[in-house]
């Protein structure tokens, strides 16, 4: 069986629908051998390989999937970002442009590997587009909060990440996508609240400060909100796709959609504005007496 991918796959509502359809086509296929054909693809955003890799991981358990029809520029890009070497044992190429954050999949137990990955691939990269130290720290903080959220709530086998810098865009931006194929936000929130919220309503609930589905002795309910507050200040963008929910914030507005298809996990795509010169100081930064902090 051959599955043809469409011409354009962007990090937007339509792009995520295409990827949900890819998952559904694979689910509905009775063939053991499936060819994923890229010959019609003119443009695909590299960070989305985290989503494609996550989808393939589910279906590779029962199918033999091959990749065909890649144009030379896509072969080059997916070799440099290690997608082809990780998922299809192709040869790995060196990223001389230093514009990628490689495709990786992490076991939820490998927290130190993820810390090393962010340090090496993001914070310590010499050619990472110029930004202030403070901005780099805030970006890393948001990514770690998201990663911990995926580890804790998704209860998944792996977490998939991939990123791309766009140093020639104005402003310069960094897109990073984190995917887990564990329980969706919709399932987690509805099981916790014992309600029947839509995917969008469940995402909105999870983003509110203090809301958490955790019931153990480790409190939660701050991480997503901290990421979201920073993206608002940074004038970046955040998209969350989980089950049938699509939620996007890009200043000054939030857009939500209930999708006709469904994603069997959670995708978070964040776009950071690297030209942001702001010095981030948090509210109440001064005057917190440490002898009475509890």
């Amino acid at each position: 069986m051959k599955i043809q991918l469409p011409e354009n796959i962007n990090s937007d509502y339509t792009g995520y629908l295409h990827l949900m359809q890819l998952h559904e086509n694979l689910s509905n296929s009775h063939s053991h051998d499936v060819e994923l054909n890229f010959s019609h693809v003119k443009w695909i955003e590299a960070n989305l390989m985290a989503v494609i890799g996550a989808i393939l991981s589910i279906h590779k358990k029962s199918k033999k999937i091959t990749i065909e029809g890649l144009k030379p520029n896509h072969t080059d890009l997916f070799s440099r970002n290690q997608f082809l070497s990780t998922e299809f044992n192709h040869e790995r190429r060196v990223d001389s442009n230093q514009t990628i954050i490689p495709y990786k999949k992490f076991s939820p137990l490998a927290d130190q590997d993820f810390i090393r990955y962010i340090k090496e691939e993001l914070l310590n990269k010499p050619d990472f587009p110029k930004h202030t130290q403070k901005l780099g720290d805030k970006i890393a903080e948001s990514i770690f909060e998201l990663y911990e959220n995926a580890r804790t709530h998704g209860r998944c086998e792996h977490i998939y990440t991939c990123g791309q810098y766009y140093p020639n865009k104005t402003p310069k931006i960094l897109d990073i996508t984190i995917v887990d194929m564990g329980k969706t936000i919709k399932t987690n929130v509805n099981e916790y609240l014992k309600q029947g919220l839509s995917g969008v309503e469940a995402i909105e609930w999870a983003l509110k400060n203090g809301n958490t589905t955790k019931v153990d002795n480790i409190p939660g309910g701050l991480g997503l909100n901290i990421m979201f507050e920073f993206i608002q200040l940074n004038q970046g963008k955040v998209q969350i796709v989980s089950a049938d929910g699509f939620w996007e914030y890009k200043k000054p507005q939030t857009e939500t959609r209930i999708c006709d298809h469904s994603f069997p996990g959670t995708i978070v795509n964040i776009e950071f504005n690297l030209d942001d010169p702001a010095y981030y100081s948090l509210k109440q930064e001064r005057d917190i007496p440490l002898d009475d902090i509890f």
Binding site: I115, E148, L282
Partner: protein, 116 residues
């Protein structure tokens, strides 16, 4: 009462206090020392980035076993940047709410199940 020092960066082996697992390590160490009647000085020197995920496990979790008044007497923070002080404050406020709600939830569940 003995006073013990825990240096976070030495205990977790990195300068980024970001994972729940590393937070759990710190919680276990603090809990053990407090149970042994020591006071604890928690030193954050060399820590650059800190997340609420780490702090929820390391500090927020303390409210499952201790009261705020006890923690003010027995646990002291050192070398906490102004920014990270804000994070600690957020996590402490959240932990108080979380355990107050959890207690309320468990009491109402007990009433419903056992009629207590």
């Amino acid at each position: 009462m003995k006073s013990e020092q825990l240096v976070v960066s030495e205990m977790i082996g990195v300068d980024m206090a970001v994972s729940t697992d590393d937070g759990e390590k710190i919680f276990q160490a603090i809990d053990q020392l407090l149970k042994n009647n020591s006071t604890v000085e928690l030193d954050f020197s060399k820590i650059t980035i800190m997340t609420t995920a780490f702090l929820n496990a390391a500090i927020g979790q303390l409210y499952s076993a201790y009261e705020g008044e006890q923690l003010n007497r027995l646990l002291v923070f050192k070398n906490l940047s102004p920014e990270n002080k804000v994070r600690v404050r957020q996590v402490v406020e959240r932990a108080k709410e979380y355990f107050a709600n959890k207690k309320g939830f468990e009491e109402s569940a007990n009433r419903a199940i056992y009629g207590e």
